[in-house]
């Protein structure tokens, strides 16, 4: 199940589902207050823009309310709401995307026929938590995440930044747990490649 942080006592899922299906506004308000903060966070991390994130979450809750009778109850409410929000955020992103993505194949390590890396990796200058204390390094890392191809960036955001589990991420993105694992691995490797030039010379 999703870790719904910052929520008071978690409301009873069965009662919420029943109220939602009945179209009860009070139940819907509870849903918004319970999950809205976390959904705004995921939208913000996909879109890197506060105003867009709020707009997306608003649209997502309205679509969820309209689609309430289609909620099957197989998934958790929180997973279902994540799915609607992530899809709305990705649609918004596609409509205004300006930064070119880097092809993933160019960013993952290459190997010689004997299985050794083709590249010799240089150690990074300073511990990453020290480097990230600088605002410009943090911005560089956010920009690098933004350069990952969408399918990889989304998995990295859900798994590594939002803390969803593999099965939850698979359900949100309508894919398999194994596909999530492979994409997460390639996303991390690609991000490492993008960070390396900055981190090798971080202290200079």
């Amino acid at each position: 199940m999703l870790r719904m942080n910052g929520t008071p006592a978690p409301p009873d899922e069965a009662a919420l589902v029943q109220g939602l299906r009945a179209g009860d506004p009070a139940t819907f308000e509870t849903l918004i207050r319970t999950y809205g903060g976390r959904l705004t966070q995921v939208a913000r991390r996909i879109l890197f823009n506060e105003e867009d994130a709020r707009e997306v979450v608003q649209e997502a809750f309205i679509s969820a309310f309209k689609a309430r009778e289609q909620f099957s109850g197989d998934a958790k409410l929180s997973t279902w709401l994540h799915r609607i929000t992530v899809n709305a955020a990705l649609m918004k992103l596609r409509s205004k995307r300006r930064r070119p993505e880097e092809p993933i194949e160019d960013l993952v390590p290459r190997f010689l026929p004997n299985g050794r890396h083709t590249e010799v990796f240089r150690s990074w200058d300073e511990p990453v938590d020290v480097a990230l204390e600088r605002k410009e390094t943090a911005q560089f890392v956010r920009d690098a995440i933004d350069r990952l191809p969408e399918a990889y960036r989304t998995v990295l955001i859900l798994r590594d930044l939002q803390g969803l589990t593999g099965p939850e991420t698979a359900e949100v993105l309508d894919t398999t747990v194994n596909a999530v694992k492979i994409r997460l691995h390639r996303a991390r490797m690609a991000l490492r490649t993008l960070l390396a030039p900055q981190m090798e010379g971080a202290a200079s």
Partner: protein, 91 residues
């Protein structure tokens, strides 16, 4: 184990889910291969860097659950809650 095989197992290795039999091959490779040692360190640091860059805290894979429970998103602003409720009340 080659560097390529080592790389394939990384995702499970950093989450502590790698089969102990594979760990038994993985770790000797790391001891022999300084290049892979640097790579594994940077793979972990990349995850931490991404988390720190978005304000999610530096927890390692294994400690992530507790850290994410502590990672409180701000609640929905009241005006946004009202805007949504008004929108759904329209016929």
């Amino acid at each position: 184990m080659t560097c390529r095989e080592m790389t394939d197992f990384l995702v499970d290795y950093v989450s502590g889910e790698l089969d102990p039999a594979v760990v038994a091959e993985f770790e000797p490779h790391l001891e022999r291969c300084p290049n892979c040692r640097v790579y594994v360190t940077q793979y972990r640091e990349t995850i931490i860097a991404a988390r720190l860059a978005v304000g999610a805290g530096a927890a390692s894979d294994a400690a992530r659950g507790a850290a994410d429970r502590a990672d409180d998103p701000p609640p929905m602003p009241d005006e946004l809650v009202r805007a949504i409720l008004n929108a759904i009340r329209k016929p």
